[in-house]
Symmetry: C2
Subunit: 249 residues, 2 copies
Amino acid sequence: MTPRFYTPLAHHDGDLVALPAEEAAHLTRVLRLEPGDAIRVFNGRGGEFEALVDSLSRAEVRVRVGAACAPAPEPRVAVTLAQAVLKGDKMDDVVRDAVMMGVAAVLPVVTARSEVTLASLARGRRRERWARVAIASAKQCGRATVPPILEPRTFADAAAALSALTLPGPGLMFVEPSAGADAAPLGELAPLPPRETTAVVGPEGGWTREEVERGAAACRLVTLGGRTLRADAMALVALSALFALWREF
Amino acid sequence: MTPRFYTPLAHHDGDLVALPAEEAAHLTRVLRLEPGDAIRVFNGRGGEFEALVDSLSRAEVRVRVGAACAPAPEPRVAVTLAQAVLKGDKMDDVVRDAVMMGVAAVLPVVTARSEVTLASLARGRRRERWARVAIASAKQCGRATVPPILEPRTFADAAAALSALTLPGPGLMFVEPSAGADAAPLGELAPLPPRETTAVVGPEGGWTREEVERGAAACRLVTLGGRTLRADAMALVALSALFALWREF
């Protein structure tokens, strides 16, 4: 398979563009490509092109953009994943999986039981890290679209945005079956896909009762069977199930 | 939540049973429970009971079995996951995820592009390791059933068993969209759930052309959208999508 590289600068056949530093390092140090080698480039906004390595220097790698070509298809439903930030590096895996599945955007959410704050996320430059994970995942899965990592929010803010429809709605909040009578199995959702939605997934310790109440006012509460799913698997299970329901698969 | 322990010996209210060594170590060294503490035990065959820690000694932990209680529900469709053995420890993660999702059994499969042989799996006692992973996952997800890890087979043997219906069929073999005209999207499967099936999932390098042909003779070939899914995520995506299609969720 022709190796793929991300450069937001590629737009037209004939463009001569530099690769971002991380992409240049991948091309030269990992794959050891040379001038004249055939590659593909994608611009993260849906454009994918054949290309040739033009020149390599210590300072930069330039590639000559060629004919447009077809990337992996995007889902018809634009799903924003609002994911409670998980412990350690697990959020990296969720971002990677969500991009592979085809989400339109990822919104990191700080919940009552998250072990982080908005301030600690900013200090740790986590959003920038997740953006790099999203690019790496798009390279692997064949997408030419790199979903944005949105500015992290508290759960209360995210719920308010869902109510105000400044986040795509109606939202779907995934909860344990024990969450109560407001929650319905996924199978009770209409099989007709919406144009867009936000899927809301909780942290390791689950949602608090207050969060479930707040969520119920802003979203539909959805359950996924009777077994306890690991928090770091929940987004992948939820996205797979939604895409099966909506015939994306 | 009351801690749960696995013991195949628990069958009736009133039984006094010993825990297996790993479970005893978890109870004493990790959770530091004492005689009189309330626990739950499950026997791996669907039985779950309230129980009390009876006695602790260096040699063993005994528990007094109490009233039967309800474990997490089992899926109505009995899915055997025939999974190509993945690199490194990734197969551990797939077994853990598959048990959490509710599979009835796991069949490790050696394919043309697997980096293992049946002999190397036996030498490495990998099947025994996966059986321990299955118990650990059942503890976490609330199932009282521990799915068996079947004796590993070559892909050719597994395909022959599917044709002969000595593995549950009709089987569903998950393939890349490029696999050809025999493959159909998951959405074209009948939404009516079968009583049982075998889901066949490939290795990191994908199936060979010969394997796809052999599989097409024994199973339905199924695709999951147009993006390239990581091999270690495929089983979780496939099981989630099937369970959504069949209204297990």
